[in-house]
């Protein structure tokens, strides 16, 4: 079966005119979708790896129980338990 047994030239002309091209930039953007998805997958994988790495570092630090110079001072500041310059405690 074809759509029609007989196509007039006028009908063909009308049908050809019914499908103008989409703007080339739209077509190009759609064609680049696979690359865009690949790039996003890559970023997600790197972000996942970075998170794992960060978690490992935090775990290592917790094991070491390191107290760095200034840590106690910072802790007091965050608690508001610190002398202001020129003030009294």
């Amino acid at each position: 079966m074809t759509y029609r047994a007989h196509y007039s030239e006028g009908r063909i002309a009308k049908l050809l005119g019914a499908l103008p091209p989409a703007p080339p930039a739209w077509v190009e953007a759609a064609q680049e979708l696979p690359a865009a998805y690949q790039a996003m997958d890559g970023m997600a994988a790197r972000a996942g790896a970075a998170q794992e790495f960060q978690a490992e570092i935090v775990a290592d630090l917790a094991k070491l129980e390191i107290t760095e110079p200034g840590t106690e001072q910072a802790q007091r500041e965050s608690n508001g338990n610190v002398a202001t310059p020129g003030g009294t405690e």
Partner: protein, 193 residues
């Protein structure tokens, strides 16, 4: 075989395998169709039409693995495009009521005509290259004899006679071929999510 002549189902299978050239061809094959649905049938503005256009191809790409019938990619795309257009119009209507409600029957008829137009357009690929180009430029791109003549470095009179001759070839080709398309409304469209 050239990708342009591959059946829809074979093209979808190649896309699923990650073939970038096949994806380019799939976008080329359906870009006019999606564009016509968004811009001519649902008359979306340029910005909304572009959003829907990109969304259609993004979802198509994401769901290639979920298609139940590769051959039904065209009606699948048609249904998806319609759905996204209607969503856009409804969303816009919440902010500003539409002048005319969406007439789904009218849209059905218009998409059926586009199905046929796509089949005719596909027929261009079977003609000699110079025929496909001159017919597409004149009828689909609405270029004048003069513009086409300048682009192809031919006199305008030659363009006119070439259009006539190529139209005759396309007519013969269409009338003699077997079906490759069925109207979208005749296909099972339930799988579009």
């Amino acid at each position: 075989m050239s990708l342009g002549l591959l059946a829809d189902a074979d093209l979808v299978a190649r896309c699923r395998e990650g073939d970038q050239h096949a994806w380019n061809e799939l976008v080329n094959r359906f870009s006019r169709y999606v564009y016509a649905i968004t811009s001519r049938i649902y008359r979306l503005g340029q910005h909304d039409a572009e959003d829907v256009f990109q969304e259609v191809f993004a979802r198509t790409y994401e769901r290639l693995d979920e298609l139940r019938d590769d051959e039904a990619i065209r009606p699948w795309i048609a249904t998806l495009t319609r759905r996204l257009c209607v969503d856009r119009l409804r969303s816009a209507a919440r902010e500003q009521p539409m002048d005319e409600p969406i007439d789904h029957g009218e849209a059905d008829d218009a998409i059926e005509m586009l199905d046929e137009a796509l089949a005719v357009h596909e027929g261009l690929k079977t003609l000699p290259e110079h025929c496909g180009e001159v017919l597409d430029r004149f009828f689909a791109r609405d270029e004048s004899y003069r513009t086409i003549g300048e682009a192809l470095d031919l006199p305008a009179g030659t363009i006119a006679s070439r259009i006539s001759r190529c139209l005759g070839k396309l007519k013969g080709q269409l009338e003699g071929r077997k079906p490759r398309f069925q109207p979208s409304r005749d296909r099972n469209e339930s799988q579009v999510g």
